[in-house]
């Protein structure tokens, strides 16, 4: 009888661990990090853990990224550079969706990692993760300067503040559309074209049956942010 119970318990434990192991966890990510970059694993993992908790990073896609980096033919310093840039973005309290996606796309296209990280000047230019990180930061600062911000969960909500998710979405989509604009080769001095590009993106995302951007949020941004603001953000990339 007792033996039966023990066997049953072991069986349940095994089954549970099998089920749990199907979903990548934070510790899986840590393990992969240690395998790839023992020197920086701790620092990166600290930032990633916060990212997981905030919902800005998912263990599954992060693990996939790290595994791909491990197998990719590239300099170790570039591989670390990709992950450190993402970690630093999280440390700056910014969303990272755009960076992870671009890194994965670049590797799928067999683009050299140094190019994915640093981009290439030219006409039209190719932006690297470093420049995209700057766009995220500059976009966030611009929104703040216009009185558009988020309050973290747990703090008292101020009237007109957005949830972190909604604010992150705005930052990510605005920065991504600015990046698209720069990579299309158009002039940064055409503020109204920049503005139109951002406006189109936000409006299209608000226009879905299940909006990705809330129509009210899109309106708020388009009312307060001006073409000149966007030119200021984008011009630095061309310097």
């Amino acid at each position: 009888m007792r033996r039966g119970l023990i066997v049953l318990c072991i069986g349940l434990l095994l089954a549970t661990s099998l089920v749990l192991s199907a979903e990548p966890t934070a510790s899986d990510v840590r393990q992969a990090l240690v395998a790839l970059t023992p020197a920086h694993a701790d620092e990166i993992m600290n930032a990633f853990s916060v990212g997981f908790a905030q919902g800005r990073l998912q263990p599954e896609s992060t693990l996939r990224l790290i595994n791909r980096l491990i197998e990719y033919e590239a300099e170790q310093s570039d591989k670390e550079g990709i992950l450190i840039t993402i970690a630093q973005t999280l440390q700056d309290d910014l969303p990272t969706a755009m960076l992870v996606e671009k890194a994965e796309e670049g590797m799928a296209r067999s683009v050299p990692l140094s190019l994915i990280l640093n981009g290439v000047k030219g006409q039209p230019p190719i932006l690297g993760l470093t420049e995209r990180k700057y766009l995220l930061s500059a976009t966030r600062d611009t929104l703040y300067s216009k009185g558009i911000f988020s309050t973290p969960p747990g703090t008292k909500a101020v009237a007109q503040s957005l949830s972190v998710v909604r604010f992150d979405t705005l930052v990510n989509e605005i920065a991504d559309s600015l990046a698209d604009y720069v990579e299309s080769g158009k002039s940064p001095l055409e503020g109204h074209l920049l503005y139109q590009q951002v406006s189109d993106r936000l409006t299209d995302l608000a226009d879905l049956k299940v909006p990705v951007v809330q129509p009210g949020d899109a309106q708020l941004v388009l009312e307060r942010v001006t073409p000149a603001d966007l030119t200021t953000v984008v011009q630095r990339i061309y310097e």
Binding site: E101, A108, P124, E183, L205, L208
Partner: protein, 193 residues
């Protein structure tokens, strides 16, 4: 140059524009009635064809090549879709249908690639890892139905290892790493009264 009253200037400017251009709606009522009574073909078809053959955002050098390729792809696509669409349906080429299940949309990806050995789609919805397309009846038209929530998606096709970034069925294109990605918005609320 001074403008004393913007309201007035605005109203004046808009009215003057209409006065200048309104000649083109002279006898519009006759054309509308003719169409309603079925005496003229549906404008939409001819216009749609014209628009379909319009070039995409290709680089200047490759523009004619792009036009040529686009036209060929469209003709092939047109034949494929024509064989699927019954005559009673007016062909609105939106290969997305909302499914009743939890807000997911069934998105159809189509790539004409006769003679290809493998065709897949890569995009930001699958971590840029290949989702294979299939050509079940061997007619060279490869398809896949992918379930996606509402959103904006960037993607490209990979045909026998070669990337094709300009899907004619896409809503638009963006530059990426010196080439093109296709963009689709899934879940757009339709227009109409």
């Amino acid at each position: 140059m001074r403008v004393d009253n913007l309201d007035q200037a605005l109203s004046e400017a808009l009215h003057q524009e209409v006065r200048e251009e309104a000649y083109c709606i002279d006898r519009l009522e006759e054309r509308v009635v003719a169409e309603i009574e079925g005496r003229t073909p549906r404008r939409g078809v001819v216009d749609s064809l014209r628009r379909m053959l319009a070039p995409t955002r290709g680089a200047r050098i490759g523009q004619f090549a792009t036009i040529g390729v686009t036209a060929v792809v469209f003709l092939t696509l047109g034949m494929f879709l024509a064989s699927r669409v019954t005559p009673s349906h007016q062909a609105t080429l939106t290969p997305v249908t909302a499914s009743a299940v939890d807000g997911q949309n069934q998105v159809l990806f189509v790539m004409p690639a006769p003679g290809a050995h493998s065709v897949s789609v890569v995009g930001n919805f699958n971590g840029w890892e290949a989702t294979p397309l299939a050509d079940e009846n061997g007619d060279g038209i490869w398809t896949a139905n992918i379930s996606l929530p509402d959103g904006r998606y960037e993607y490209a096709f990979v045909v026998d290892g070669r990337w094709w970034g300009q899907d004619p069925l896409a809503d638009g294109y963006v530059h990426s790493f010196g080439e093109y990605n296709s963009v689709r918005y899934v879940g757009q609320a339709g227009g109409g009264a």
